[in-house]
Amino acid sequence: MQPNRMLPNRSRTSVLVFLLPPLLLYCAAVLFPIFQSLFLSFFSWNGISDMEFVGLDNYVRMFVADDIFWRAFLNALIYLAICLVLQLGGALVVASLLTSLRRGRELIKTLYLLPAVISTVAIAFLFVRIYSIDPAGLLNQLLHWIGLGSLERPWLSDVNTVLAAVSAPEGWRFTGLYMLIIYAALIAVPKELEEAAVLDGASRWTLFTKIRFPYIRPVWITTTIMATTYGLRGFDIPYLMTNGGPGQSSELLTTYMYKTAFTSTDFGYASTISVFIVIECLVAVGLILFLLKRKAD
């Protein structure tokens, strides 16, 4: 195997000098505990009793006998979809708009990042109020003003709207971050290419689909992978706002896993769920690479 080597003369020691410290830290602090917990998925353990080997029982239970698990899985996918639309779609739209702006870009970009800085506790508290109906929160007040009073509802208590309602703040929060990445890619699109296309009479839409987007595709793939893996691991906002409720309407795999571990003290089964989350993330990343890379070729 021919290694990917950029430096013509480098010694084995130098590789070790650079690689070993980070690898050791990573293995000791991250990989080892993760493997420990993954092995727990074959055990039944409540944290204080003796560990009992149960083979594949936890997996069988997860796939066959746990209705909440499947519900949470479905919810997680919907949650992911909403986050992705907001984060990637929103980021792309805003970044495109920004490129048309001449002054004030710095300030606006900074302002867009603000929600990411505020602590989650405060964000969750604010959004509970925004969605509230009794007393009427911002969203219901707005709907009332624009004459859509019939849509007013307790957004976080209605089993049909709660999932969307908890996904929105998470999606909105990090839009600015992804916007910044995509914006940096967009302004790097060579102006000559665009101008040539305009001379050929390309519409704004063709300009975007034929010139700009293909150019930023590598960045787009990275951003999509990031947003997807973070979306699949989303935890704190749903946990703080509804704790998975009402019923299991906003239960995600992550909140379910956390509860299984620390409420039910079923560490073995919780590990089984996290094994599933890891595989789910891997599949998602594979799919993204497959779909987006293939289009590029």
Partner: protein, 444 residues
């Protein structure tokens, strides 16, 4: 590579298993008066109480006093007021076998397992040896007991839960204080018709709604019902169970709780009541400083009163028996229990009640008189007086009784039931299934 991987895997499991089983070497939990020299050192108390609250402030002071005679002694108070975060921390420490000298826990199945493994000192023996056992209110101790009657936690509070109400709002709707639990749905309908929110409830924290599921069975079948239910010996399908299920569905139909309550927090609910928007509010005496002093909104101050849990027709428990919790209890780690811990506890438990009662709260003991704060309304005294006239039974909150998995499911399904998203039949079968599935793991 494969071998290395297998070796790593084995090591991983072994490391966990070692610590997991390493807890066996604890001392005898029933030996409450260890002999030997008192060697002052730092001891820790892992607790889940307000950082600036009475318990912590008093214990700090007591520890300082104790340190004067025992140089080198220090009490490190590690508090995590948010209960779910606290539980995560406690379980993590327990799993690593790193529990400190003292730690807080409710009488949960998890705590019972710790006790069974000999990790906690027998509190009944301890209190008796310190000669303070008889000072405690029986109710305060009973709240801390496990099903088998054993006592491993020491209470630091004593609270009574009432239903607070706004006289003016009830009058406006033309309804009277309910004499039976069964009156409440009709009462809610009348209040709703008058444009008033009947009951303000903190849905986010889940325990407040879970209180309501306990009321009917406590009146109908007494405190034993939940004891049997949690082990699967009684069912929601039984008459007492069905009574509470239908009642809750009725409460929901009558729109008793504020719309969208499931996402509203503790202060939201209280604010609705103290701002005169909601007619009733179910809360305990820990809120006396907000509800029975001049801190209460002047607009409603003269209209506020409370009633205790109504009875029902044919009720097996009396009107003076309701929810009277003594809060999260303190357990003593058997492994680190030594003459110092013993001596400090003796010192602290002796001094604590007087100090605590002086803050205007009810002491878990009967040997001290609670001081009424200067800014109290007459309601304050009225509330405290209820403590002297309690029956021998108490309604246990179900969240400390059921196994945690069933409890979590119950909290979720209750919201659905009250919101009308599921039928009483669906609720009954889901919950009975959940108990059948989970109870055997926790109550062998």
């Amino acid at each position: 590579m494969k071998n290395a991987f297998r070796a790593a895997a084995a090591a991983a499991v072994a490391a966990l298993a070692l610590t997991a089983c390493g807890g066996g070497s604890s001392t005898d939990p029933s030996n409450v008066s260890p002999t030997g020299e008192i060697k002052p050192r730092e001891i820790s108390w892992l607790l889940s109480r307000p950082a600036d609250g009475a318990v912590i402030n008093i214990m700090k002071k007591i520890a300082d006093d104790y340190a004067k005679d025992h140089p080198g002694f220090e009490l490190n108070l590690i508090t995590t007021p948010d209960r779910p975060s606290y539980i995560q921390k406690l379980e993590t420490l327990a799993a690593a076998n790193k529990l400190p000298e003292l730690f807080d826990t409710d009488a949960t199945p998890f705590a019972q397992q710790l006790a069974k493994q000999g990790k906690m000192v027998d509190a009944e023996k301890l209190l008796k040896t310190l000669d303070v056992y008889d000072d405690y209110r029986p109710g305060a101790l009973d709240y801390q007991r496990f099903d088998d009657g054993s006592l491993y936690m020491i209470p630091f509070q004593f609270e009574l839960e009432f239903i607070w109400y706004n006289k003016a709002l009830l009058e406006k709707a033309g309804v009277a204080v309910p004499t039976s639990l069964d009156d409440i749905p009709a009462m809610c309908t009348a209040l709703r018709n008058a444009g008033i929110t009947p009951i303000a409830i903190d849905g986010q924290d889940q325990w407040p709604l879970e209180r309501y599921v306990a009321y009917q069975p406590f009146r109908e079948a007494g405190p034993d019902f939940v004891q049997k239910l949690k082990k699967g010996e009684a069912k929601f399908a039984d008459p007492a169970g069905q009574k509470t299920v239908t009642w809750l569905a009725e409460l929901g139909k009558a729109k008793c709780f504020q719309e969208g309550f499931s996402a509203q927090g503790y202060s939201d609910a209280q604010n609705q009541f103290t701002s005169g928007q909601a007619a009733m509010y179910n809360i305990g005496t820990w809120e006396l400083p907000s509800l029975a002093t001049d801190k209460l909104n002047p607009d409603v101050r003269d209209d506020i009163d409370f009633f205790t849990l109504p009875t029902t027709e044919g009720s097996v428990t009396a009107a003076n028996e309701f929810v009277s919790p003594s809060g999260i209890g303190m357990a003593v780690n058997a492994k680190t229990y030594d003459p110092l811990v013993s001596d400090f506890l003796k010192f602290a438990l002796d001094k604590y009640p007087a100090e605590y009662a002086a803050t205007g709260a009810l002491s878990p003991t009967t040997d001290v008189e609670t001081a009424i704060p200067a800014n109290a309304t007459p309601l304050y005294q009225k509330a405290l007086d209820q403590a002297d006239n309690l029956g021998s039974k108490q309604a246990m909150p179900w969240d400390t009784q059921l196994d945690p998995t069933t409890n979590g499911r119950l909290q979720q399904e209750l919201v659905l039931l009250v919101q009308g998203n599921i039928t009483p039949e669906q609720f009954t079968s889901t919950m009975d299934n959940a108990i059948a599935q989970n109870a055997p793991k926790f109550f062998k």
